[in-house]
Protein backbone atom coordinates (compact mmCIF):
# COMPACT_ATOMS: atom_id res chain seq x y z
CA UNK A 1 0.00 0.00 0.00
CA UNK A 2 1.83 3.16 -1.16
CA UNK A 3 1.80 6.04 1.31
CA UNK A 4 0.97 8.97 -0.93
CA UNK A 5 0.29 9.64 -4.60
CA UNK A 6 2.83 8.18 -7.01
CA UNK A 7 3.24 8.96 -10.68
CA UNK A 8 4.36 6.16 -12.98
CA UNK A 9 4.60 7.95 -16.32
CA UNK A 10 5.95 11.29 -17.47
CA UNK A 11 2.50 12.09 -18.78
CA UNK A 12 1.06 11.69 -15.29
CA UNK A 13 3.87 13.81 -13.88
CA UNK A 14 3.14 16.69 -16.26
CA UNK A 15 -0.67 16.52 -16.11
CA UNK A 16 -2.63 19.57 -15.01
CA UNK A 17 -4.72 17.51 -12.60
CA UNK A 18 -2.42 15.34 -10.51
CA UNK A 19 -3.94 15.00 -7.06
CA UNK A 20 -7.47 14.44 -5.77
CA UNK A 21 -7.44 18.01 -4.48
CA UNK A 22 -7.00 19.24 -8.05
CA UNK A 23 -10.14 17.45 -9.22
CA UNK A 24 -12.08 18.71 -6.24
CA UNK A 25 -10.73 22.23 -6.81
CA UNK A 26 -11.66 22.15 -10.49
CA UNK A 27 -15.20 20.98 -9.75
CA UNK A 28 -15.87 23.48 -6.94
CA UNK A 29 -14.07 26.28 -8.74
CA UNK A 30 -15.95 25.90 -12.01
CA UNK A 31 -19.32 25.61 -10.29
CA UNK A 32 -18.57 28.70 -8.18
CA UNK A 33 -17.26 30.68 -11.16
CA UNK A 34 -20.18 29.80 -13.41
CA UNK A 35 -22.88 30.51 -10.82
CA UNK A 36 -21.25 33.58 -9.28
CA UNK A 37 -23.70 36.12 -10.81
CA UNK A 38 -26.52 34.34 -8.95
CA UNK A 39 -25.25 35.39 -5.56
CA UNK A 40 -22.81 38.21 -6.34
CA UNK A 41 -24.65 41.41 -7.15
CA UNK A 42 -23.62 44.92 -8.08
CA UNK A 43 -20.52 45.95 -6.19
CA UNK A 44 -19.42 42.38 -5.48
CA UNK A 45 -19.82 41.32 -9.10
CA UNK A 46 -17.63 44.28 -10.05
CA UNK A 47 -15.11 43.00 -7.55
CA UNK A 48 -15.13 39.61 -9.25
CA UNK A 49 -14.59 41.27 -12.64
CA UNK A 50 -11.72 43.37 -11.29
CA UNK A 51 -10.26 40.25 -9.73
CA UNK A 52 -10.15 38.58 -13.14
CA UNK A 53 -8.70 41.66 -14.85
CA UNK A 54 -5.87 41.90 -12.36
CA UNK A 55 -5.44 38.14 -12.38
CA UNK A 56 -4.74 38.26 -16.12
CA UNK A 57 -2.26 41.11 -15.66
CA UNK A 58 -0.57 39.36 -12.72
CA UNK A 59 -0.26 36.12 -14.68
CA UNK A 60 1.47 38.10 -17.43
CA UNK A 61 3.90 39.63 -14.95
CA UNK A 62 4.44 36.24 -13.38
CA UNK A 63 5.59 34.92 -16.76
CA UNK A 64 8.01 37.82 -17.20
CA UNK A 65 9.19 38.06 -13.61
CA UNK A 66 8.53 34.69 -12.03
CA UNK A 67 9.39 32.36 -14.89
CA UNK A 68 12.02 34.33 -16.78
CA UNK A 69 13.32 36.38 -13.85
CA UNK A 70 13.17 39.69 -15.75
CA UNK A 71 12.25 42.62 -13.51
CA UNK A 72 9.54 44.74 -15.07
CA UNK A 73 8.33 47.82 -13.25
CA UNK A 74 6.35 48.95 -16.30
CA UNK A 75 3.61 46.36 -16.26
CA UNK A 76 0.89 48.87 -15.41
CA UNK A 77 2.03 51.01 -18.33
CA UNK A 78 1.61 47.96 -20.58
CA UNK A 79 -1.91 47.55 -19.20
CA UNK A 80 -2.39 51.20 -20.08
CA UNK A 81 -1.26 50.52 -23.64
CA UNK A 82 -4.03 47.94 -23.94
CA UNK A 83 -6.64 50.21 -22.40
CA UNK A 84 -5.70 53.18 -24.60
CA UNK A 85 -5.70 50.97 -27.70
CA UNK A 86 -9.27 49.92 -27.01
CA UNK A 87 -10.37 53.41 -26.02
CA UNK A 88 -8.82 55.17 -29.02
CA UNK A 89 -9.97 52.55 -31.52
CA UNK A 90 -13.51 52.73 -30.17
CA UNK A 91 -13.60 56.51 -29.97
CA UNK A 92 -11.73 57.52 -33.13
CA UNK A 93 -12.45 54.61 -35.50
CA UNK A 94 -15.69 53.29 -34.04
CA UNK A 95 -14.25 49.80 -33.69
CA UNK A 96 -16.23 47.50 -31.44
CA UNK A 97 -14.53 47.62 -28.04
CA UNK A 98 -14.88 43.88 -27.44
CA UNK A 99 -13.33 43.00 -30.78
CA UNK A 100 -10.54 45.50 -30.07
CA UNK A 101 -9.38 43.56 -27.00
CA UNK A 102 -7.17 41.13 -28.97
CA UNK A 103 -5.69 44.16 -30.75
CA UNK A 104 -5.02 45.68 -27.33
CA UNK A 105 -3.15 42.52 -26.43
CA UNK A 106 -1.09 42.72 -29.60
CA UNK A 107 -0.30 46.42 -29.12
CA UNK A 108 0.91 45.81 -25.57
CA UNK A 109 2.82 42.73 -26.73
CA UNK A 110 4.66 44.91 -29.26
CA UNK A 111 5.44 47.39 -26.52
CA UNK A 112 6.56 44.52 -24.31
CA UNK A 113 8.93 43.42 -27.06
CA UNK A 114 10.42 46.92 -27.17
CA UNK A 115 10.80 46.81 -23.39
CA UNK A 116 12.68 43.53 -23.75
CA UNK A 117 15.37 45.14 -25.92
CA UNK A 118 17.43 46.40 -22.94
CA UNK A 119 17.31 42.91 -21.42
CA UNK A 120 19.52 41.52 -24.19
CA UNK A 121 22.45 43.49 -22.86
CA UNK A 122 21.47 44.23 -19.29
CA UNK A 123 20.48 42.26 -16.26
CA UNK A 124 18.85 42.68 -12.90
CA UNK A 125 18.92 46.20 -11.57
CA UNK A 126 19.77 47.78 -14.94
CA UNK A 127 16.66 46.19 -16.37
CA UNK A 128 14.64 47.39 -13.38
CA UNK A 129 15.81 50.95 -14.09
CA UNK A 130 15.05 50.66 -17.80
CA UNK A 131 11.52 49.53 -17.07
CA UNK A 132 11.12 52.20 -14.40
CA UNK A 133 12.09 54.83 -16.97
CA UNK A 134 9.71 53.26 -19.48
CA UNK A 135 6.90 53.40 -16.93
CA UNK A 136 7.38 57.13 -16.38
CA UNK A 137 7.79 57.88 -20.09
CA UNK A 138 4.63 55.95 -20.94
CA UNK A 139 2.73 57.69 -18.16
CA UNK A 140 3.86 60.97 -19.71
CA UNK A 141 2.75 59.89 -23.17
CA UNK A 142 -0.65 58.84 -21.82
CA UNK A 143 -1.03 62.21 -20.16
CA UNK A 144 -0.35 63.82 -23.55
CA UNK A 145 -2.96 61.67 -25.32
CA UNK A 146 -5.72 62.88 -23.09
CA UNK A 147 -4.80 66.13 -21.35
CA UNK A 148 -8.35 66.45 -20.07
CA UNK A 149 -7.64 63.18 -18.23
CA UNK A 150 -10.35 60.82 -19.44
CA UNK A 151 -11.17 59.17 -22.73
CA UNK A 152 -14.72 57.94 -22.52
CA UNK A 153 -15.60 55.00 -24.71
CA UNK A 154 -18.93 55.34 -26.57
CA UNK A 155 -21.53 52.98 -25.17
CA UNK A 156 -22.62 51.70 -28.55
CA UNK A 157 -19.16 50.22 -29.21
CA UNK A 158 -19.50 48.05 -26.11
CA UNK A 159 -22.39 46.10 -27.63
CA UNK A 160 -22.54 42.90 -29.61
CA UNK A 161 -25.93 41.69 -30.94
CA UNK A 162 -27.77 44.06 -28.66
CA UNK A 163 -26.09 42.82 -25.49
CA UNK A 164 -24.25 45.51 -23.55
CA UNK A 165 -20.89 44.14 -22.39
CA UNK A 166 -19.83 47.17 -20.38
CA UNK A 167 -21.04 45.96 -17.01
CA UNK A 168 -22.78 43.30 -14.98
CA UNK A 169 -23.41 39.71 -15.96
CA UNK A 170 -22.42 39.84 -19.67
CA UNK A 171 -19.07 41.45 -18.80
CA UNK A 172 -18.57 38.87 -16.05
CA UNK A 173 -18.97 35.94 -18.42
CA UNK A 174 -16.87 37.61 -21.12
CA UNK A 175 -14.07 38.19 -18.60
CA UNK A 176 -14.45 34.66 -17.28
CA UNK A 177 -14.10 33.15 -20.75
CA UNK A 178 -11.02 35.23 -21.54
CA UNK A 179 -9.51 34.45 -18.13
CA UNK A 180 -9.97 30.70 -18.50
CA UNK A 181 -8.42 30.66 -21.97
CA UNK A 182 -5.45 32.80 -20.92
CA UNK A 183 -4.88 30.90 -17.68
CA UNK A 184 -4.86 27.57 -19.49
CA UNK A 185 -2.42 28.99 -22.00
CA UNK A 186 -0.21 30.30 -19.19
CA UNK A 187 -0.26 26.95 -17.40
CA UNK A 188 0.78 25.24 -20.61
CA UNK A 189 3.51 27.77 -21.31
CA UNK A 190 4.85 27.23 -17.80
CA UNK A 191 5.03 23.43 -18.07
CA UNK A 192 6.11 23.30 -21.71
CA UNK A 193 9.50 23.71 -23.28
CA UNK A 194 9.21 27.51 -23.37
CA UNK A 195 8.53 27.65 -19.64
CA UNK A 196 11.45 25.37 -18.90
CA UNK A 197 13.68 27.51 -21.12
CA UNK A 198 12.55 30.61 -19.21
CA UNK A 199 13.32 28.98 -15.87
CA UNK A 200 16.74 27.99 -17.16
CA UNK A 201 17.43 31.58 -18.26
CA UNK A 202 16.26 32.83 -14.88
CA UNK A 203 18.44 30.46 -12.88
CA UNK A 204 21.61 30.80 -14.94
CA UNK A 205 21.56 32.41 -18.34
CA UNK A 206 25.09 31.40 -19.28
CA UNK A 207 24.39 27.75 -18.52
CA UNK A 208 21.12 28.02 -20.42
CA UNK A 209 22.95 29.31 -23.47
CA UNK A 210 25.46 26.47 -23.24
CA UNK A 211 22.75 23.81 -23.34
CA UNK A 212 21.41 25.39 -26.51
CA UNK A 213 18.61 27.69 -25.34
CA UNK A 214 18.23 30.86 -27.37
CA UNK A 215 18.51 33.26 -24.45
CA UNK A 216 17.74 36.42 -26.43
CA UNK A 217 14.59 34.96 -27.92
CA UNK A 218 13.45 33.52 -24.60
CA UNK A 219 13.80 36.90 -22.91
CA UNK A 220 12.01 38.66 -25.76
CA UNK A 221 9.20 36.11 -25.64
CA UNK A 222 8.87 36.43 -21.88
CA UNK A 223 8.37 40.17 -22.19
CA UNK A 224 6.13 39.88 -25.25
CA UNK A 225 3.84 37.28 -23.69
CA UNK A 226 3.74 39.23 -20.43
CA UNK A 227 2.86 42.32 -22.44
CA UNK A 228 0.08 40.49 -24.27
CA UNK A 229 -1.52 39.46 -20.99
CA UNK A 230 -1.20 42.99 -19.64
CA UNK A 231 -2.73 44.39 -22.83
CA UNK A 232 -5.75 42.09 -22.68
CA UNK A 233 -6.19 42.97 -19.01
CA UNK A 234 -5.99 46.65 -19.91
CA UNK A 235 -8.51 46.18 -22.72
CA UNK A 236 -10.93 44.52 -20.33
CA UNK A 237 -10.30 47.33 -17.86
CA UNK A 238 -11.22 49.85 -20.55
CA UNK A 239 -14.41 47.91 -21.22
CA UNK A 240 -15.20 47.80 -17.52
CA UNK A 241 -14.54 51.43 -16.67
CA UNK A 242 -16.47 54.43 -17.92
CA UNK A 243 -13.35 56.32 -18.97
CA UNK A 244 -9.67 55.61 -19.48
CA UNK A 245 -7.21 57.91 -17.72
CA UNK A 246 -3.51 57.66 -17.02
CA UNK A 247 -3.90 57.55 -13.25
CA UNK A 248 -5.19 54.00 -13.52
CA UNK A 249 -1.78 52.88 -14.75
CA UNK A 250 0.76 54.57 -12.50
CA UNK A 251 3.93 53.23 -10.93
CA UNK A 252 1.89 52.36 -7.85
CA UNK A 253 -0.20 49.93 -9.91
CA UNK A 254 3.00 48.42 -11.32
CA UNK A 255 4.29 47.91 -7.80
CA UNK A 256 0.95 46.45 -6.75
CA UNK A 257 1.19 43.92 -9.57
CA UNK A 258 4.79 43.20 -8.57
CA UNK A 259 3.54 42.69 -5.02
CA UNK A 260 0.80 40.31 -6.19
CA UNK A 261 3.36 38.15 -7.98
CA UNK A 262 5.94 38.22 -5.20
CA UNK A 263 3.43 37.62 -2.41
CA UNK A 264 1.43 34.98 -4.25
CA UNK A 265 4.31 32.97 -5.57
CA UNK A 266 6.76 33.97 -8.30
CA UNK A 267 7.14 31.17 -10.82
CA UNK A 268 3.82 29.58 -9.89
CA UNK A 269 2.08 31.21 -12.81
CA UNK A 270 -1.59 30.45 -12.21
CA UNK A 271 -2.09 29.61 -8.56
CA UNK A 272 0.57 31.95 -7.24
CA UNK A 273 -0.87 34.89 -9.16
CA UNK A 274 -4.37 33.99 -8.04
CA UNK A 275 -3.40 34.02 -4.37
CA UNK A 276 -1.56 37.30 -4.80
CA UNK A 277 -4.49 39.03 -6.48
CA UNK A 278 -6.86 37.56 -3.90
CA UNK A 279 -4.83 39.08 -1.07
CA UNK A 280 -3.74 42.39 -2.54
CA UNK A 281 -6.70 43.29 -4.71
CA UNK A 282 -9.89 41.65 -3.48
CA UNK A 283 -8.81 41.22 0.13
CA UNK A 284 -7.33 44.66 0.47
CA UNK A 285 -10.18 46.48 -1.29
CA UNK A 286 -12.72 44.89 1.05
CA UNK A 287 -10.61 45.48 4.14
CA UNK A 288 -10.07 49.08 3.11
CA UNK A 289 -13.74 49.76 2.45
CA UNK A 290 -14.73 48.35 5.81
CA UNK A 291 -11.92 49.99 7.79
CA UNK A 292 -11.89 53.40 6.18
CA UNK A 293 -15.20 54.69 7.59
CA UNK A 294 -13.94 53.58 11.01
CA UNK A 295 -10.61 55.39 10.61
CA UNK A 296 -12.27 58.49 9.23
CA UNK A 297 -14.69 58.42 12.12
CA UNK A 298 -11.77 58.40 14.54
CA UNK A 299 -10.32 61.44 12.76
CA UNK A 300 -7.49 59.40 11.29
CA UNK A 301 -8.33 59.92 7.63
CA UNK A 302 -4.67 60.54 6.82
CA UNK A 303 -3.96 56.94 7.86
CA UNK A 304 -6.86 55.78 5.73
CA UNK A 305 -5.15 57.25 2.68
CA UNK A 306 -1.63 56.03 3.47
CA UNK A 307 -2.44 52.60 4.90
CA UNK A 308 -2.23 51.15 1.41
CA UNK A 309 1.40 52.21 0.98
CA UNK A 310 2.35 50.87 4.38
CA UNK A 311 0.61 47.51 4.00
CA UNK A 312 1.78 46.97 0.43
CA UNK A 313 5.38 47.91 1.21
CA UNK A 314 5.56 45.84 4.37
CA UNK A 315 4.04 42.76 2.72
CA UNK A 316 6.44 42.92 -0.24
CA UNK A 317 9.54 43.36 1.93
CA UNK A 318 8.53 40.73 4.48
CA UNK A 319 7.66 38.13 1.86
CA UNK A 320 10.89 38.62 -0.08
CA UNK A 321 12.99 38.29 3.04
CA UNK A 322 11.14 35.53 4.87
CA UNK A 323 9.20 33.61 2.23
CA UNK A 324 10.64 34.15 -1.25
CA UNK A 325 8.41 31.43 -2.72
CA UNK A 326 5.30 33.28 -1.69
CA UNK A 327 2.00 32.34 -0.11
CA UNK A 328 1.73 29.22 -2.20
CA UNK A 329 4.71 27.76 -0.33
CA UNK A 330 3.01 28.59 2.95
CA UNK A 331 -0.11 26.76 1.79
CA UNK A 332 1.98 23.80 0.73
CA UNK A 333 3.58 23.61 4.14
CA UNK A 334 0.18 23.72 5.81
CA UNK A 335 -1.04 20.98 3.50
CA UNK A 336 1.96 18.80 4.28
CA UNK A 337 1.49 19.37 7.98
CA UNK A 338 -2.14 18.31 7.79
CA UNK A 339 -1.32 15.33 5.59
CA UNK A 340 1.22 13.99 8.05
CA UNK A 341 -0.66 14.98 11.16
CA UNK A 342 -0.32 13.79 13.90
CA UNK A 343 2.84 11.87 13.01
CA UNK A 344 5.08 14.39 11.32
CA UNK A 345 8.62 13.26 10.76
Amino acid sequence: MPAGVFKETYRADMAHLRYPIHYAGLLIGSVLALTAPLYLKGYYLDQAILFMIFLIAAVGLNITLGLAGLVSLAHAALMGAGAYTVALLALKAGVNAILAIPLAGLAAAGLGFILSLPSFKLKGYYLAMASLAAQFILEYIYSLIAPEQYISIPFETKEIAGIFFGEGIPLYYLALAITIVLLLAAANIARGSLGRAMKAVRDNDVAAEIVGINVTMTKALAFTIGGFYAGVAGGLYALYSAGVGWEGFTLLVSIELLGMVLIGGPGRVVWGSMLGVLVLKTGWTNLESSLNPLLTGMGLDIIASTAKYIVLGTLIAVFIILEPEGLIAVLRRIKEYLRLWPYSY
Binding site: K123, I302, I310, G313, I321, P324
Partner: protein, 291 residues
Amino acid sequence: MDAGLIIESTFRGITIGVIYSMIALGFNIVYRVNKSINFAHPVIVLMAAYVALVVSYNHSPLVAYIAAIASGIVASIAVERLVARPLLGRPPIALIGATLGVYYLVKGVTITIGGGETASLPLPYKLYRLGPINLGFNDIVALVGSLTALLVIILLHKKTRLGSAMRAVAEDVEGAAAYGIPVRRLMVLSWALAGLVGALGGIFLAVKNQVSVELEFYAIRALAASLLAGLDSMGGVIVGGIILGVAEELGGLFLDDYLPGIGYDLAFFILLLVLFVKPYGLFGTERIERV
Protein backbone atom coordinates in the same frame (compact mmCIF):
# COMPACT_ATOMS: atom_id res chain seq x y z
CA MET B 1 15.46 83.28 -27.55
CA ASP B 2 16.51 85.71 -24.88
CA ALA B 3 20.10 85.03 -23.81
CA GLY B 4 19.40 86.12 -20.26
CA LEU B 5 16.69 83.51 -19.96
CA ILE B 6 19.07 80.81 -21.17
CA ILE B 7 21.76 81.87 -18.73
CA GLU B 8 19.29 81.92 -15.88
CA SER B 9 17.92 78.50 -16.79
CA THR B 10 21.42 77.08 -17.04
CA PHE B 11 22.26 78.45 -13.65
CA ARG B 12 19.08 77.04 -12.16
CA GLY B 13 19.98 73.72 -13.76
CA ILE B 14 23.40 73.77 -12.15
CA THR B 15 21.93 74.54 -8.73
CA ILE B 16 19.44 71.70 -8.88
CA GLY B 17 22.07 69.54 -10.60
CA VAL B 18 24.41 69.74 -7.63
CA ILE B 19 21.59 68.52 -5.40
CA TYR B 20 20.89 65.73 -7.88
CA SER B 21 24.58 64.83 -7.65
CA MET B 22 24.35 64.48 -3.93
CA ILE B 23 21.30 62.23 -4.05
CA ALA B 24 22.91 60.23 -6.85
CA LEU B 25 25.99 59.79 -4.67
CA GLY B 26 23.76 57.94 -2.21
CA PHE B 27 22.73 55.46 -4.91
CA ASN B 28 26.36 54.95 -5.91
CA ILE B 29 27.74 54.45 -2.40
CA VAL B 30 25.25 51.64 -1.81
CA TYR B 31 25.81 50.19 -5.26
CA ARG B 32 29.53 49.92 -4.64
CA VAL B 33 29.15 47.68 -1.60
CA ASN B 34 25.93 45.81 -2.39
CA LYS B 35 26.06 45.69 -6.20
CA SER B 36 22.42 46.62 -6.41
CA ILE B 37 20.23 49.69 -6.56
CA ASN B 38 18.76 50.85 -3.30
CA PHE B 39 15.25 51.85 -4.29
CA ALA B 40 14.59 52.91 -0.70
CA HIS B 41 16.97 55.84 -1.17
CA PRO B 42 14.45 58.29 -2.75
CA VAL B 43 12.12 57.93 0.18
CA ILE B 44 14.88 58.77 2.66
CA VAL B 45 15.17 62.09 0.84
CA LEU B 46 11.44 62.63 1.29
CA MET B 47 11.45 61.49 4.90
CA ALA B 48 14.32 63.80 5.91
CA ALA B 49 12.52 66.80 4.44
CA TYR B 50 9.35 66.00 6.38
CA VAL B 51 11.22 65.29 9.61
CA ALA B 52 12.86 68.71 9.29
CA LEU B 53 9.44 70.28 8.74
CA VAL B 54 7.66 68.51 11.59
CA VAL B 55 10.45 69.12 14.11
CA SER B 56 10.71 72.76 13.09
CA TYR B 57 7.12 73.31 14.30
CA ASN B 58 8.22 73.09 17.92
CA HIS B 59 11.98 73.49 17.91
CA SER B 60 14.66 75.74 16.53
CA PRO B 61 15.64 75.23 12.85
CA LEU B 62 19.07 73.91 13.85
CA VAL B 63 17.51 71.11 15.90
CA ALA B 64 15.19 70.35 13.00
CA TYR B 65 18.02 69.96 10.51
CA ILE B 66 20.05 67.79 12.88
CA ALA B 67 17.00 65.61 13.52
CA ALA B 68 16.43 65.25 9.79
CA ILE B 69 20.02 64.16 9.15
CA ALA B 70 19.90 61.74 12.08
CA SER B 71 16.64 60.25 10.85
CA GLY B 72 18.12 59.69 7.38
CA ILE B 73 21.18 57.93 8.80
CA VAL B 74 19.14 55.79 11.19
CA ALA B 75 16.65 54.81 8.49
CA SER B 76 19.41 53.89 6.09
CA ILE B 77 21.21 51.74 8.69
CA ALA B 78 17.89 50.09 9.52
CA VAL B 79 17.38 49.20 5.85
CA GLU B 80 20.88 47.69 5.76
CA ARG B 81 20.36 45.69 8.93
CA LEU B 82 16.83 44.47 8.34
CA VAL B 83 16.63 44.19 4.55
CA ALA B 84 19.95 44.25 2.73
CA ARG B 85 21.92 42.02 5.06
CA PRO B 86 19.50 39.07 5.10
CA LEU B 87 19.40 39.30 1.32
CA LEU B 88 23.17 39.15 0.74
CA GLY B 89 23.86 36.42 -1.78
CA ARG B 90 20.34 36.38 -3.17
CA PRO B 91 19.69 37.45 -6.78
CA PRO B 92 19.57 41.23 -7.33
CA ILE B 93 15.81 41.18 -7.89
CA ALA B 94 15.35 40.29 -4.21
CA LEU B 95 17.01 43.49 -3.02
CA ILE B 96 15.23 45.54 -5.71
CA GLY B 97 11.83 44.22 -4.67
CA ALA B 98 12.51 44.47 -0.95
CA THR B 99 13.80 48.04 -1.13
CA LEU B 100 10.80 48.98 -3.27
CA GLY B 101 8.69 47.57 -0.45
CA VAL B 102 10.58 49.68 2.06
CA TYR B 103 10.10 52.65 -0.24
CA TYR B 104 6.32 52.40 -0.02
CA LEU B 105 6.35 51.57 3.67
CA VAL B 106 8.42 54.64 4.59
CA LYS B 107 6.47 56.79 2.15
CA GLY B 108 3.23 55.83 3.86
CA VAL B 109 4.65 56.53 7.31
CA THR B 110 6.14 59.84 6.16
CA ILE B 111 2.91 61.10 4.65
CA THR B 112 1.00 59.97 7.74
CA ILE B 113 3.31 61.89 10.06
CA GLY B 114 3.87 64.91 7.82
CA GLY B 115 0.25 65.14 6.77
CA GLY B 116 1.28 65.30 3.10
CA GLU B 117 1.52 69.06 3.38
CA THR B 118 3.38 71.52 1.21
CA ALA B 119 5.29 74.04 3.30
CA SER B 120 8.53 75.98 3.46
CA LEU B 121 11.31 75.33 5.90
CA PRO B 122 12.21 78.18 8.26
CA LEU B 123 14.95 80.20 6.58
CA PRO B 124 15.55 83.95 6.25
CA TYR B 125 14.45 85.10 2.82
CA LYS B 126 16.45 87.50 0.71
CA LEU B 127 16.78 88.00 -3.03
CA TYR B 128 19.98 88.94 -4.80
CA ARG B 129 20.41 89.91 -8.44
CA LEU B 130 23.46 88.90 -10.43
CA GLY B 131 23.11 90.15 -13.99
CA PRO B 132 20.26 88.09 -15.46
CA ILE B 133 20.26 85.68 -12.52
CA ASN B 134 17.81 85.99 -9.66
CA LEU B 135 19.36 84.40 -6.63
CA GLY B 136 17.50 83.71 -3.41
CA PHE B 137 19.27 83.17 -0.13
CA ASN B 138 17.83 79.65 -0.14
CA ASP B 139 19.45 78.92 -3.52
CA ILE B 140 22.83 79.99 -2.17
CA VAL B 141 22.43 77.80 0.90
CA ALA B 142 21.45 74.82 -1.23
CA LEU B 143 24.23 75.31 -3.77
CA VAL B 144 27.07 75.99 -1.34
CA GLY B 145 25.87 73.43 1.19
CA SER B 146 25.50 70.57 -1.23
CA LEU B 147 28.73 71.36 -3.05
CA THR B 148 30.63 71.37 0.26
CA ALA B 149 29.05 68.13 1.43
CA LEU B 150 29.78 66.46 -1.92
CA LEU B 151 33.42 67.48 -1.88
CA VAL B 152 33.92 66.45 1.75
CA ILE B 153 32.49 62.99 1.15
CA ILE B 154 34.40 62.43 -2.08
CA LEU B 155 37.66 63.57 -0.46
CA LEU B 156 36.94 61.34 2.53
CA HIS B 157 36.57 58.52 0.10
CA LYS B 158 39.66 59.27 -1.95
CA LYS B 159 42.19 60.50 0.58
CA THR B 160 41.65 58.92 3.99
CA ARG B 161 42.45 55.44 5.34
CA LEU B 162 38.76 54.91 5.97
CA GLY B 163 38.08 55.79 2.35
CA SER B 164 40.63 53.34 1.01
CA ALA B 165 39.15 50.62 3.22
CA MET B 166 35.74 51.41 1.75
CA ARG B 167 37.16 51.24 -1.74
CA ALA B 168 38.70 47.88 -0.91
CA VAL B 169 35.31 46.54 0.21
CA ALA B 170 33.73 47.85 -2.96
CA GLU B 171 36.42 46.20 -5.05
CA ASP B 172 36.42 42.74 -3.52
CA VAL B 173 34.59 41.75 -0.35
CA GLU B 174 36.47 38.49 0.29
CA GLY B 175 39.83 40.02 -0.48
CA ALA B 176 39.16 42.92 1.89
CA ALA B 177 38.07 40.54 4.62
CA ALA B 178 41.27 38.50 4.14
CA TYR B 179 43.30 41.63 4.83
CA GLY B 180 41.50 42.14 8.11
CA ILE B 181 39.24 44.97 6.98
CA PRO B 182 35.98 44.91 8.97
CA VAL B 183 33.69 44.37 5.99
CA ARG B 184 30.39 44.29 7.85
CA ARG B 185 31.10 47.50 9.73
CA LEU B 186 32.16 49.26 6.55
CA MET B 187 28.98 48.14 4.81
CA VAL B 188 26.93 49.66 7.61
CA LEU B 189 29.06 52.79 7.37
CA SER B 190 28.46 52.98 3.62
CA TRP B 191 24.72 52.78 4.11
CA ALA B 192 24.94 55.39 6.86
CA LEU B 193 26.84 57.65 4.49
CA ALA B 194 24.17 57.07 1.84
CA GLY B 195 21.54 57.99 4.41
CA LEU B 196 23.49 61.13 5.26
CA VAL B 197 23.71 62.36 1.67
CA GLY B 198 20.08 61.39 1.12
CA ALA B 199 18.98 63.40 4.13
CA LEU B 200 21.16 66.36 3.14
CA GLY B 201 19.72 66.12 -0.37
CA GLY B 202 16.22 66.17 1.08
CA ILE B 203 16.98 69.19 3.24
CA PHE B 204 18.59 71.17 0.42
CA LEU B 205 15.78 70.26 -1.98
CA ALA B 206 13.30 71.42 0.63
CA VAL B 207 15.28 74.61 1.20
CA LYS B 208 15.51 75.32 -2.51
CA ASN B 209 11.91 74.48 -3.33
CA GLN B 210 9.47 73.45 -0.66
CA VAL B 211 8.68 70.43 1.46
CA SER B 212 6.17 68.44 -0.56
CA VAL B 213 5.37 64.91 -1.65
CA GLU B 214 6.89 65.83 -5.02
CA LEU B 215 10.40 65.66 -3.55
CA GLU B 216 10.54 61.90 -3.99
CA PHE B 217 10.32 62.35 -7.76
CA TYR B 218 13.44 64.52 -7.70
CA ALA B 219 15.14 61.69 -5.89
CA ILE B 220 13.93 59.12 -8.43
CA ARG B 221 15.16 61.32 -11.27
CA ALA B 222 18.56 61.51 -9.58
CA LEU B 223 18.85 57.87 -10.61
CA ALA B 224 19.49 59.16 -14.13
CA ALA B 225 22.41 61.25 -12.85
CA SER B 226 23.76 58.24 -11.02
CA LEU B 227 23.58 56.07 -14.11
CA LEU B 228 24.97 58.75 -16.38
CA ALA B 229 28.02 58.97 -14.14
CA GLY B 230 28.33 55.21 -13.91
CA LEU B 231 26.93 53.37 -10.93
CA ASP B 232 30.29 52.73 -9.30
CA SER B 233 31.85 56.15 -9.85
CA MET B 234 32.02 58.69 -7.04
CA GLY B 235 33.35 61.96 -8.48
CA GLY B 236 31.45 61.41 -11.72
CA VAL B 237 28.12 62.09 -10.05
CA ILE B 238 28.89 65.83 -10.06
CA VAL B 239 29.10 65.78 -13.85
CA GLY B 240 26.09 63.48 -14.12
CA GLY B 241 23.98 65.60 -11.80
CA ILE B 242 24.83 68.88 -13.49
CA ILE B 243 24.20 67.46 -16.97
CA LEU B 244 20.84 66.19 -15.76
CA GLY B 245 19.89 69.46 -14.06
CA VAL B 246 20.86 71.64 -17.02
CA ALA B 247 19.20 69.27 -19.49
CA GLU B 248 15.97 69.42 -17.50
CA GLU B 249 15.91 73.20 -17.29
CA LEU B 250 16.94 73.83 -20.90
CA GLY B 251 14.71 71.01 -22.15
CA GLY B 252 11.81 72.55 -20.31
CA LEU B 253 12.68 75.95 -21.80
CA PHE B 254 12.99 74.87 -25.43
CA LEU B 255 10.63 71.90 -25.74
CA ASP B 256 7.77 72.94 -23.53
CA ASP B 257 5.84 74.50 -26.41
CA TYR B 258 5.80 71.23 -28.32
CA LEU B 259 5.67 68.74 -25.47
CA PRO B 260 4.11 70.32 -22.38
CA GLY B 261 5.79 69.31 -19.15
CA ILE B 262 8.61 67.40 -20.84
CA GLY B 263 11.33 68.93 -18.61
CA TYR B 264 10.88 66.59 -15.69
CA ASP B 265 10.47 63.51 -17.83
CA LEU B 266 13.67 64.20 -19.73
CA ALA B 267 15.53 62.40 -16.93
CA PHE B 268 13.92 59.13 -17.95
CA PHE B 269 14.79 59.62 -21.61
CA ILE B 270 18.39 60.24 -20.53
CA LEU B 271 18.22 57.12 -18.38
CA LEU B 272 17.01 54.96 -21.27
CA LEU B 273 19.54 56.50 -23.66
CA VAL B 274 22.42 55.76 -21.28
CA LEU B 275 21.18 52.21 -20.75
CA PHE B 276 21.06 51.56 -24.47
CA VAL B 277 24.26 53.32 -25.49
CA LYS B 278 26.65 53.14 -22.56
CA PRO B 279 25.15 51.16 -19.68
CA TYR B 280 28.22 51.55 -17.48
CA GLY B 281 28.03 55.32 -17.65
CA LEU B 282 30.60 57.97 -18.43
CA PHE B 283 32.99 57.20 -15.58
CA GLY B 284 31.95 53.72 -14.50
CA THR B 285 34.10 50.64 -14.90
CA GLU B 286 32.80 48.11 -17.36
CA ARG B 287 32.05 44.81 -15.74
CA ILE B 288 33.16 41.80 -17.67
CA GLU B 289 31.45 38.63 -16.63
CA ARG B 290 33.49 35.48 -16.37
CA VAL B 291 31.83 32.12 -16.52
